[in-house]
Symmetry: C2
Subunit: 156 residues, 2 copies
Amino acid sequence: MIEKAFQDYYPDDFSYCYGCGRLNKDGHQIKSFWDGDEAVCTYIPKPYHIAIPGYVYGGLIASLIDCHSTGTAAAAAYRNADKEMGTDPQFRFLTGSLNVKYLRPTPLGVPLHLRSCVIEIKKRKITVETKLYAEGELTAVGEVIAIQVPEYLIPK
Amino acid sequence: MIEKAFQDYYPDDFSYCYGCGRLNKDGHQIKSFWDGDEAVCTYIPKPYHIAIPGYVYGGLIASLIDCHSTGTAAAAAYRNADKEMGTDPQFRFLTGSLNVKYLRPTPLGVPLHLRSCVIEIKKRKITVETKLYAEGELTAVGEVIAIQVPEYLIPK
């Protein structure tokens, strides 16, 4: 059996996100999974995701950190409530804030590996730290404060 | 005479950026201009730049803030040195850090207006604050610390 990614559990109306929606055919369609207490994601940038030639565009790095982190927040909320992902009530998160530090240029043409851990779960607010690696080197670190979407805003 | 955008002065090798490079045919190709002491940019997201249906993808917002802010940093460095943009030595900036606060959902289908001001110029580090508006409403605020690219790294 193939393991389902966090994003595969999102309700259809939350699946058009350009970063992570399985129904957005133009988007990145990232996939995130648990690896113990951390959440992981691998993404290969397109050849046109250029910053300066040979290096990955910082806006893509921010986008990957954003979507992988909010996905991790959703999965963590289910874990924290001791519930199966995808069950009702739906736990879905939007980005409240996104901070990215670019430590060194990220080479283009290799897979990028993202690794997230949950820093804090506080009512409707989950803080996630995400590290991004290329060729085994840490090139960027992000922190996302993810805010739970009120249930009445989630389409049925 | 049509005013040239900041990005139109970038050397060719710095013009492949997915966010702002005039030579990246797949990218956003944003254009930034002075408006007094502030720098402005208008961008219309594509229909597929979705977060949840009807709203703009946060990763795109981060990307626009990133590129418009580093462009503003470059233009500010020329102003600060009392030089014409595009003259040697080339002042080009990369993102050291990017912080975005999402204040409210940004509606999709309308032009987004970005407005930046320079907070601090400190040797090779310029801090820029950028506000993003949709339909006259402030929906996101970003702060970018832009780091000047050492001259020896700029291709001739």
